[in-house]
């Protein structure tokens, strides 16, 4: 935190936003981790818990919006304070979306479990989730320390997630082609993988916001490109 404001209630307002955001961040992290664990362990009870936790993030986002609007109306924030508040609004909506994606994974646990899961695919998904969670955790640290350099390094790492997602996509396609009975579960797993990849994107969004809050500038250069699956075609059966 920079130097104190002459009006101390102003600092209380800003601290409220920061604290509420880090709470939301903690919940979002836990939801994603639990959802993926539930998926791996076929733990429907735990999946149910994740689903119900999503409400906490919805509330958090609403509270942050309300507070931010009030602070803007009341104090007409300038410069770093203004960026801080706009940043809080953006990060809150990214975290809320992360919660939705976690919830969506949890919802699929039951459907996926109707069939024996190919271990290898689940491992791949776990690995993808680990990377996304690391991104999420580090970006929350970057926010807490308002560190533009940490934010930049997180943003650059998103490509790794995209690459793993692309290879998982390919594997899932292959499984589906091998045996049509895999299609239901694999489709759900595919959505789970896509959700995790999107979580990584939200971490990247947050990294960009942190960079802006800290420096007043948009991060330089293109965002690492999206995954390649948009143009991917399944190999013809029997080929290769």
């Amino acid at each position: 935190m920079p130097e104190a404001h002459t009006v101390s209630a102003y600092d209380d307002d800003l601290r409220f936003l920061a604290r509420r955001l880090s709470e939301m961040g903690g919940i979002a992290e836990r939801m994603v981790a639990d959802a993926v664990a539930a998926l791996v362990n076929a733990d429907t009870a735990s999946a149910q818990r994740v689903i119900s936790e999503d409400l906490l993030l919805d509330d958090g986002e609403r509270e942050i919006y309300d507070k931010a609007v009030l602070v803007i109306a009341r104090r007409q924030p300038m410069a770093s304070d203004l960026r801080e508040i706009i940043g809080a609004i953006r990060i809150a909506s990214d975290l809320e979306r992360v919660g939705d994606l976690g919830k969506n994974i949890a919802k699929r646990v039951i459907a996926v479990h109707t069939m024996a899961q190919p271990r290898k695919l689940v491992r791949g998904l776990e690995h993808l989730a680990e990377l996304a969670l690391t991104q999420l955790k580090e970006v929350l640290d970057a926010f807490a320390s308002r560190s533009p350099s940490l934010a930049t390094s997180i943003r650059e790492r998103d490509e790794e997630i995209d690459a793993i997602y692309t290879s998982l996509f390919r594997e899932l396609l292959t499984y589906m082609m091998e045996d049509p009975r895999n299609i239901t579960a694999c489709t759900h797993l595919l959505f789970c993988a896509k959700n995790i990849e999107r979580i990584g994107d939200h971490a990247t969004n947050i990294a960009e916001t942190v960079y802006y809050v800290a420096t007043g500038e948009q991060p330089e250069g293109d965002r690492p490109k999206d995954d390649d699956t948009a143009s991917m075609i399944a190999p013809a059966p029997g080929a290769a």
Binding site: E3, T6, A79, R83
Partner: protein, 268 residues
């Protein structure tokens, strides 16, 4: 001039703002006490420059240098150079009365003369020999009041005393009075600090319109006002110019920590 050279000249005029007034190494002393230290500041033509900073930092002092109002304070001494259209206004042959017609001033407290609205406006042009006939005077009154956005409100009572108007109307009358002598630069020292929010909004709207024809320098205590009305902002602290730049940048990411702390309400 070749076509390419003409185009270059056009490009240059787009990129290079016209400097209407320029302070270079300005020092101001009140007796032994130094109030401004080596201030270099440009005022761009047809733009509003806001001077901000905590009380006593020298904003009004700098403003008063721009039309030599400081001359009226006995103990005040100004060194350095201030130019208007590249001409040093402190040069010996400068006619200070003429200078103040070119660089007009509006004060914090609306201060109409205790005379009619009409007389308030024709006073300046008459002194400067700009009007003589009744028709000329009528015209200047109407034009100035229209430009100050006051005409419709007072056109039926031009002979009534200016002091009978509301605070906001009085301030716009003072602006009309300043405009009447066709100044090039208008200096405003906290012109809205005695006005309610609606009257303030009207004056701010007016400032934005006046910018098209005049160059404006405004001292304000309200950061929001500076952010709303100006294109350039200069931040003063303890008699020194801390930084100057585009207003949009000054209020979103100023370079200097003092500016940051001041505009975010961390001191002052």
């Amino acid at each position: 001039m070749s076509e390419a050279a003409t185009q270059d000249a056009v490009n240059a005029s787009v990129e290079q703002p016209v400097i209407k007034m320029r302070g270079t190494g300005v020092n101001v002393f009140y007796g032994d006490k130094q109030a401004l230290f080596d201030v270099d500041l440009d005022v761009r033509q047809h733009s509003v420059t806001a001077l901000i900073g905590p009380s006593g930092c020298g904003k009004s002092t700098f403003l008063r240098c721009l039309n030599r109002m400081n001359d009226t304070i006995d103990i005040c001494k100004v060194t350095g150079e201030i130019t208007l259209d590249s001409e040093n206004i402190y040069a010996p042959m400068i006619d200070v009365v003429e200078l103040r017609a070119r660089v007009g001033m509006v004060f914090q407290k609306p201060n109409p003369f205790p005379k009619s609205i009409y007389e308030n406006i024709v006073y300046g042009p008459r002194i400067h020999g700009q009007v003589s006939t009744r028709a000329e005077m009528d015209e200047i009154v109407e034009k100035s009041l229209i430009k100050a956005g006051l005409f419709n409100e007072v056109k039926d009572r031009l002979q009534e005393p200016g002091t009978g108007l509301s605070g906001g109307q009085q301030q716009r009358l003072c602006i009309a009075r300043a405009i009447a002598v066709s100044p090039e630069v208008i200096l405003m020292d906290e012109p809205c600090s005695a006005l309610d929010p609606i009257a303030t909004a009207k004056v701010e709207e007016l400032i934005d319109e006046l910018r098209v024809n005049y160059t404006i320098v405004i001292v304000t205590h309200s950061m929001q006002q500076a952010a709303r009305v100006s294109q350039r902002t200069a931040m003063f602290h303890l008699g020194k110019l801390i930084e100057e730049g585009p207003t949009d940048k000054m209020f979103t990411k100023p370079d200097h920590k003092l500016t940051q702390d001041y505009i975010t309400g961390r001191f002052g």
